[in-house]
């Protein structure tokens, strides 16, 4: 490819739809190869994934429950990424966010329930943001690389929470490292209640009202990043720090604000997990959702409209994946961690692998049509 392609001639659907789909297909092909190496049939695995995630109501509800988590962590990564910050610390921020939810719910239990919910959301956001603050400050002021500091804060959060769960806030009547359950009236309305209202009986479903919060968070991020002055400033810093400084925009301020919002969004994951599903803090509840958020954001091209389908796709992979692990003894859930890695590779680092070829193919085709 020695000639330069006029980027403005490339239709939006080629660069934002066709290229990501080609990359995703490549990633899934490689993943199929892994399943083959592990000694199972990739075609059977795909059938199981589709059945597990769409085949029955409970399965589909599980898919949407995972989707909720991935929207939060995907948005979290995307916001920071617009400022060219790699917030790999979603895992730790979500964990600490859970502490915020729990402390609010326990200490403000005398207030009316909807107010406790709103305060819990604030608690999750603030605790998550606070955990992102130190890495943000060190990146802004000292240039300490945010990838290393946020990873370290994941380890630190994990140690801290295990310590708290074992020695400080553990439910002393039980053996496991988890807190006491929150009072039942604080539990977020679940999909099961919702379906029962319409006369549909469902055995169990983790899907709950947090799904709506995830959609609200997507709108919030879209508005914040693309429609406000601050969003513009943040993207300017991310795009070209020097130019932003000339324009009178402070990179320090924007780095810190971007990370605070990113950490806060990751913290919201705990609304789903603590208030919606477990109703207490369970050891290790972020369970890798923070890392999956990276893949979700990169696949969704860091835009809420892209993040939603990407999160849904990972929801399918997670829920369908657990169906696969039931039926195929050689596949464990870690296989799907590997699949995430492959997706990040193809839709992130190798996103330009076939982009020039695909774009010039479509531009030439459109040119020919225009001539005819």
């Amino acid at each position: 490819m020695s000639f330069a392609l006029d980027k403005s001639k490339v239709p939006w659907w080629v660069s934002n739809l066709i290229v990501p789909l080609v990359n995703l297909t490549l990633a899934l092909l490689v993943s199929g190869l892994f399943i083959f190496i592990a000694g199972e049939n990739p075609y059977q695995a795909i059938k199981l994934i589709i059945y597990g995630s769409f085949g029955y109501v409970e399965g589909f509800a599980y898919t949407l429950y995972y989707t909720t988590n991935f929207i939060f962590t995907g948005l979290a990564f995307a916001v920071a990424f617009h400022c060219r910050l790699f917030n790999i610390g979603g895992e730790g921020q979500a964990y600490i966010g859970g502490l915020g939810v729990f402390l609010v719910a326990i200490n403000f239990s005398f207030l009316p329930v909807p107010i406790i919910w709103i305060l819990s959301i604030a608690g999750a956001f603030i605790f998550g943001a606070a955990w992102a603050f130190i890495p943000a400050y060190l990146q802004a002021k000292r240039g300490s690389h945010i990838v290393i500091t946020t990873i370290m804060f994941n380890f630190i959060a994990s140690s801290l929470m295990v310590y708290l769960l074992v020695d400080v806030i553990r439910d002393m009547k039980q053996m496991g490292p988890h807190t006491v359950a929150l009072p039942k009236e604080l539990w977020l309305p679940s999909f099961k209640d919702f379906a029962a209202f319409f006369g549909i009986k469902i055995r169990y479903s983790p899907l709950n009202a947090s799904f709506l919060l995830a959609i609200a968070a997507s709108l919030f991020v879209w508005f914040l990043v693309w429609k406000t002055k601050w969003g513009y400033e943040m993207r300017a810093v991310g795009h070209n720090t020097q130019a932003a400084i000339y324009a009178g925009i402070s990179p320090y301020k924007n780095i810190i604000i971007a990370m605070l919002i990113s950490g806060g969004l990751a913290g919201l994951l705990s609304i789903n997990e603590v208030l919606g599903v477990h109703h207490k803090i369970v050891s290790g509840f972020p369970a890798g959702y923070g890392f999956t958020g990276i893949a979700v954001a990169l696949m969704g091209r860091n835009h809420p409209i892209g993040i939603f389908p990407a999160a849904f796709l990972f929801g399918i992979l997670y829920q369908g994946g657990s169906e696969v692990t039931f039926d195929m003894p050689n596949i464990t859930r870690y296989m799907f961690v590997a699949v995430q890695g492959v997706i990040i590779l193809f839709s992130g680092a190798l996103e330009n692998l076939f982009r020039p070829q695909i774009e010039s193919f479509f531009v030439n085709k459109l040119n020919r049509q225009a001539k005819v």
Partner: protein, 323 residues
């Protein structure tokens, strides 16, 4: 005397614990000096640990495992190069992809092949590396001071420990005293100048990444075929990142990086020592908090209380040849 032997055993464990960090830091120096960010040290170390354990198990020889680990890590380095050097993809994204991929793949394959939740079979003594007793170590033990230094601190390590500390002066010599090293550093500082001088920037970066792969393979093999006798899930436990922090703290220089690695090793050795020990006035520190110490130390080192770290100037930027 007990105090002396305490110090000796602490120094001994410091040397052992720092070993994978030293290899990883040296590997990092090659990649980053050539202008390629390498957060994937973590993933490569894990991959090496897995492949070395599996290779030693199948071939019955730890050297075969080490060789396979080298092949695997060099391949991963080439993948990183393919994405971030050839296709100019984002280097950090490429590293994150490799790390997540390897965490998943190693555990998934270990489970699929050996049926135990992410563990490889325990290696027998001839399938792994054993401690080496240096010559005359037993004879010299009774000699004051020299005996402790030679027999209790220097002797009785795995072969990788010696390799690691020998690699430091070699890396220093290669990077700072040879024309190859000069070129590596030059592509990391000012690639277009190197290009003008007729040296291929891409080839240089690939060569640096290949050496990086070889070095990091030793770190992984040390974990799974020497210190431990099998691979287990996420056994690298953040060491790749710690080593990278040590390298940055050491200003991308082997001599200072190795000191930072030893500092990490010492903290970790001390941490293990202090678990469950009753300290005067403070009492017993909870295990979970003590275990977090190396990670806190990493953040403190990165925050840089000894001046700002200055990275190679072209780091993280794909080289785009002007046409």
């Amino acid at each position: 005397m007990e105090f002396l032997s305490d110090i000796a055993s602490l120094t001994n464990s410091t040397l052992r614990i720092s070993t994978p960090l030293v290899f990883a830091a040296m590997a990092g120096i090659f990649a980053e000096r050539s202008g390629v960010i390498d957060f994937s040290l973590e993933g490569k170390m894990l991959m090496a640990a897995f492949v070395a354990a599996v290779g030693s198990y199948f071939f019955g020889n730890p050297w075969a495992g080490l060789f396979m680990a080298i092949v695997a890590c060099v391949s991963l380095s080439m993948l990183h190069g393919f994405a971030s050097v050839t296709h100019k993809g984002d280097q950090v994204v490429s590293c994150v992809a490799i790390n997540i991929l390897i965490i998943g793949l190693t555990t998934a394959l270990a489970a699929a092949w050996f049926g135990q939740a992410g563990l490889t079979p325990t290696l027998t003594d001839d399938q792994r590396f054993l401690e080496i007793t240096l010559p005359f170590a037993d004879a010299l033990r009774e000699v004051p001071i020299i005996g402790i230094i030679y027999s209790d601190i220097l002797s009785g390590h795995y072969i990788f420990v010696y390799f690691a500390y020998i690699s430091v002066p070699i890396v220093y010599w290669v990077v700072f005293k040879t024309s190859f090293g000069l070129r590596v550093r030059a592509v990391g500082e000012n690639p277009s100048a190197v290009d003008t001088a007729g040296i291929n920037v891409f080839t240089m970066r690939y060569k640096a990444l290949a050496i990086n792969g070889v070095l990091i393979a030793f770190a992984g093999a040390h974990l799974s075929t020497a210190v431990n006798a099998n691979f287990f899930r996420e056994m690298s436990a953040g060491r790749g990142y710690l080593a990278l922090a040590a390298m940055i703290f050491g200003k991308w220089h082997p001599k200072t990086a190795v000191i930072a690695c030893l500092l990490f090793g010492f903290t970790d050795a001390l941490q293990i020592r202090l678990q469950g020990v009753e300290l005067p006035t403070i009492g017993t520190i909870p295990v979970q908090l003590i275990q977090a110490v190396p990670y806190v130390l990493t953040v403190i080192l990165l925050a840089g209380f000894v001046g700002k770290a200055i990275a190679p100037r072209a780091i993280g930027q794909p080289y785009i040849k002007e046409r």
